[in-house]
């Protein structure tokens, strides 16, 4: 038997609903229809009254989740696409994220963002906007890259007493498979060495971890060992694991599918540079998507985002520095 990344998300929600009567799911088309991507398939039937369709009102979905969380509930809000969460942005960053700080009560809301590009997604169904959420204090931002993390981190997200922005990558939904669901997991906030190496560190998260792993496998055939660090969560960000890796390799390339201005790759380089500049044998590099809206046509899209090919080119250049 094998289980996909998407099925793991569904199973994590089923377990959260079964384990805790305070959990409920609210979002567009999530009830009988099972969600636009079927991440809540059959959950409305299995948990009557606890998986509910919302009007197309991202602001009100999030606002009501804040109110319910203040009452002791643990809502899971499904945004149909990460791109649409900007309509509920105010309630996420100004309301949910400030409740604990202002009122000393927990605000345990999980917002699920189906993010990242797929061929044909276009400008408004492809975005990776984790960095703008990470910018605000009061939010935890998770970016699982594996089936196991999609499952265990979502369960942990529901258990955390703070608002969690859960960025699940649509490109991984159907293609990424594991043999079984995990029994244990690394704690949230801890990065993972996805592949050990000694010649260079590539830091990635979400779908880019798999592009980086492809590059590492290719380079290994040529005798170059790339270490791939999967950040897992971008807030908190595990700088220690990255610095320890750079201490081994001396070279750092950060890869993100998000736009280049600011963001996770810039943050990683800023932190490693200021805390461990002496470890660098070459200037740290980063690779992001192009600074344009995300194109619709598959050929344009593949050239817009980092791929194994463009990461390999950046890695070769870094090795020459």
């Amino acid at each position: 038997m094998s289980i996909t990344y998407l099925e793991a998300i569904r199973e994590a929600q089923a377990r959260a609903l079964a384990d805790d009567s305070r959990v409920y799911i609210y979002g567009q088309d999530v009830a009988d229809f099972g969600g636009a991507f079927k991440a809540t398939k059959n959950l409305a039937k299995e948990f009557p009254g606890r998986v509910t369709d919302a009007p197309i009102s991202e602001d009100a979905m999030m606002g009501s989740a804040v109110g319910a969380a203040m009452e002791g509930m643990r809502p899971i809000i499904e945004m149909q696409f990460a791109d649409f969460s900007t309509v509920g942005f105010n309630q996420i960053v100004n309301n949910a994220a400030t409740v604990h700080w202002r009122m000393r009560i927990p605000c345990p809301v999980v917002v699920r963002l189906p993010c990242g590009g797929v061929p044909g997604g276009g400008p408004f169904h492809s975005q990776s906007i984790e960095a703008i959420y990470a910018h605000y204090p009061g939010l935890v931002v998770m970016t699982p890259a594996t089936v196991e993390d999609a499952y265990s981190m979502l369960i942990e997200a529901v258990a955390i007493d703070d608002p969690v922005v859960f960025c699940e990558h649509k490109f991984l939904y159907y293609h990424l498979k594991a043999e079984r669901l995990p029994d244990e997991a690394l704690p949230v906030g801890k990065a993972r060495i996805a592949r050990p190496g000694r010649d260079m560190t590539i830091v990635a998260y979400s779908a880019m971890v798999h592009e980086a792993l492809d590059v590492a496998r290719e380079f290994a055939t040529e005798g170059t060992e790339i270490e791939v660090v999967d950040l897992r969560s971008i807030k908190p960000i595990d700088t220690d694991t990255v610095i320890a890796s750079v201490a081994r390799t001396g070279r750092l390339l950060c890869v993100g599918e998000a736009w280049p201005w600011g963001g996770v790759t810039a943050e990683v380089i800023a932190r490693v540079s200021s805390e461990a500049f002496h470890l660098f044998d070459a200037p740290p590099q980063r690779l992001n998507s192009k600074d344009t809206p995300i194109p619709y046509h598959p050929d344009l899209w593949s050239a817009h985002r980092p791929t194994a090919q463009s990461i390999a080119a950046a890695a070769r250049q870094l090795l020459r520095l």
Binding site: A65, G67, A69, M70, P75, N95, R102, P137, V140, P236
Partner: protein, 344 residues
């Protein structure tokens, strides 16, 4: 029904009205006294940041607060001193938050009108207008999910907030969920300086109720009796399962948006119109002319409240300000996931 029974019932109604009217009037006077003091402290340079008063809106606000009961939920806005006090907020909570005392409910982390005690059903507002409507919806949905009935949630907004997306989404969501929400719009004619005609073009904001499929009720925001009657009806209907109630009150703000604003933009004609009357004076005159209270008693009530407020201010001014070196700089409840720590 015979005449004697009619007379007994009329007398009982009149006694109930008198009682409710005088209770609300007391909260109005308290709010006015607090506002006058806060204005004076602002002009004396004793307040950091803005001071926002509820002058002219006390009748509506008091009617909201007195129509609710313990166990209900209230998300007030910036001109709701009277309603907050009627709902149970202490004068000390108000003064401490306005003066930034570390002992206030917000501990200097948030100020002035951004205060509340969520565990007691009083939700602190954020500045983004209309945002609290869906938050109260969420509280009501959670209570319903737990099988708690007999609860009403009230939200205060102004005419300006009716132009926001949050208003639309929130009221529509309440209607779809058939929630016991009372959404009170204080139409004070200006959102900061922007007049109604630059805010909406429907004849009355009440016209919006039909669009959302909810009940709409109008009241005269200057007339306490009208406010009490309409709010009592709206709250009772919501409690009865009749769904969201949109209440629109006509009135005029008799102060600036904040004390930094001289409100020179308010038209003289509006000020001279019935909406421009001072609801506190109108209520006092009604109470006296109905023989419910003597003018001297009103003076004594106000003097007592001034004493109460002076005492709260003196106490607060002697309290410690928040200490940045002792502040806990964690934005998360889960400290182990926070990126900052206690060092300053």
């Amino acid at each position: 029904m015979d005449r004697a029974t009619d007379a007994v019932e009329a007398a009982a109604d009149s006694a109930r009205l008198r009682e409710r009217f005088l209770e609300a009037l007391e909260w109005m006077l308290l709010a006015r006294v607090v506002d006058e003091k806060m204005g004076a402290l602002y002009r004396a340079g004793k307040v950091t940041g803005g001071v926002y008063l509820g002058t002219g809106q006390e009748a509506l606000s008091a009617a909201i607060g007195t129509s609710l009961r313990k166990g209900d939920v209230f998300a007030p806005l910036i001109r709701d001193g009277a309603g907050r006090f009627a709902f149970g907020e202490s004068v000390l909570d108000a003064i401490r938050t306005c003066l930034g005392s570390s002992l206030g409910p917000m501990r200097g982390r948030d100020g002035n009108v951004h205060r509340g005690r969520p565990k007691e059903g009083l939700l602190p507002m954020l500045s983004h207008l209309g945002a609290m409507i869906s938050v109260v919806n969420g509280v009501l949905m959670a209570r319903r999910g737990r099988g708690v009935t007999d609860v009403v949630g009230a939200v205060s907004i102004g005419d300006g907030a009716t132009s926001t997306g949050a208003f639309h989404e929130g009221l529509n969501q309440a209607a779809v969920e058939n929630l016991p929400l009372v959404l009170v719009v204080a139409n004070n004619r200006y959102a900061y300086s922007t007049p109604n005609e630059r805010q909406f073009v429907c004849e009355s904001l009440l016209d919006k109720a039909a669009g959302y499929g909810v009940w709409g009720r109008a009241c005269d925001g200057v007339d306490l009796e009208s406010c009490l009657e309409v709010l009592a009806g709206a709250v009772a209907a919501a409690r009865n399962g009749e769904g969201p109630q949109l209440v629109v009150a006509d009135l005029l703000r008799l102060c600036g948006h904040g004390e930094h604003d001289d409100a020179a933009y308010v038209s003289a004609a509006l000020k001279a119109s019935p909406a421009g009357r001072d609801c506190v004076k109108v209520a006092e005159e009604t109470a006296v002319s109905n023989g419910w209270v003597e003018a001297g008693e009103l003076d004594a009530m106000k003097a007592a409240k001034r004493g109460q407020v002076e005492e709260a201010v003196a106490r607060t001014l002697g309290e410690p300000a928040p200490d940045p070196y002792k502040e806990s700089w964690y934005a998360l409840a889960s400290k182990h996931l926070s990126e900052t720590h206690d060092e300053v």
